[in-house]
Symmetry: C2
Subunit: 242 residues, 2 copies
């Protein structure tokens, strides 16, 4: 007797950017997958390569292009049997156009999924704030997708971006985040809500590790969770079609 | 300019048994790896196949042999570039002798590492209690390794094993664990310490997800953490040789 998989989908996670965010993403994927035993869960292969060069530095012209590392990771995932790729790193999505045609697998686009999700909220979101790396901001990743959805994007001012958001992201990556890190992120979020943001996107996978949702008085949108939900829907593992 | 890996080691995690324990194990591995940036972390490939048949059922004669699934996962990890395999599932170690000669990679033996760790504690541990699945208990996995180390093993009575430990492990696997689950595990642990256990092994990777270390008045040994520490030491990523 063998135990057949409930779905032929094998989730491929191109991770390591950073590694703690990858662990957090996989934990979220497991926690939202419906089921009562191990065997109800999705087969998943994770390539976690923390040596992939820093995405923000590349986008700011200060470091090597991570594209060859991402292509290599995509190849590992395909050869391991993955049928779809998810990349739980916002900034890495700047490089998706460079790899999408070469990895031989569909990529569920985290930022596209967040834009789609925002259009489903009620009351309707007209203005959203973004906490993200300088690279994600510079690359205009959310701008592009939200423009298509008719949602206005608010970005932190230069000082808040540098002294609050970037400082906090580096603290999470270094494993040194604490109450002060949370306070930096909460202050950056409050500046956005004060300017009219009806929701705030935690647009770097490290941010939900440093900032609690209840520290922000509008919905805090976690792209990693939205991506996990999209994968579960896609795999047909969801009990509802939500 | 490329960013060279600090070590040629690529950690292979044969997981999915269960998936939440795999996510937890990877989070532990990341959290104990010394470093201040993504690039200090270990390249890791994870094959998480929750469809692997239940290890306890197989050992109790109630289900299919998971060996073919484990061999297949080992092959995936080797082909993905792993240089060493870790299996964050205690019960699956009953099948390690069936796969060790076939996967073509060294396997860091979690249970062997726990036995080694126990011999290093001060004051010296003479008697240790075990909370584990019925399959792990039946297979005598800890018994075998602790015997070699001269440490006496205490097991829960049949009623405690069935009504407390097994019930709690199933609750964690179903994602329904709560304060009642924690109380079941704490009671089972207390029965062992009352009989003289100087430490308790959380000998199923689901147990640390349901039981807090401070609910037990002796050291609670987490085999997943011990395994993660062994991998970091092996990879030479540790700053100390502890």
């Amino acid at each position: 007797m063998s135990v057949p998989a409930r779905t032929s989908e094998v989730i491929g996670i191109l991770g390591g950017m950073g590694p703690a965010a990858t662990a957090d993403f996989y934990a979220k994927l497991v926690s939202i997958t419906p089921g009562t035993s191990d065997q109800d869960h999705l087969r998943t292969v994770i390539w976690s390569d923390p040596t992939i060069p820093d995405r923000s530095e590349a986008l700011l012209g200060d470091g090597p292009d991570p594209t060859p590392w991402l292509l290599d990771g995509g190849r590992v995932l395909r050869e391991a049997g993955a049928t779809v790729i998810a990349i739980p790193c916002n900034t890495a999505h700047a490089f998706v156009p460079h790899i999408a045609g070469h990895v031989g697998l569909p990529i569920v686009h985290m930022i596209g999924e967040v834009a789609r999700h925002l259009t489903t909220l009620s009351p309707r979101i007209h203005t959203v704030g973004l906490l993200a790396t300088a690279g994600t901001v510079r690359a205009g990743l959310y701008q592009e997708w939200l423009d298509r959805s008719g949602i206005r994007l608010l970005l932190p001012g230069a000082a808040s971006q540098d002294q609050e958001v970037t400082t906090a992201v580096h603290a999470v990556k270094a494993g040194t985040h604490d109450d002060r890190t949370a306070a930096l992120l909460a202050r950056a979020a409050q500046r956005l809500t004060a300017r009219g943001a009806q929701a705030v996107i935690a647009g770097c996978t490290e941010i939900p590790l440093g900032l609690r949702a209840d520290a922000v008085d509008v919905p805090l949108v976690d792209p990693a969770l939205i991506l996990a939900q999209a994968l579960v829907r896609r795999a047909g593992a969801a009990h509802t079609t939500g």
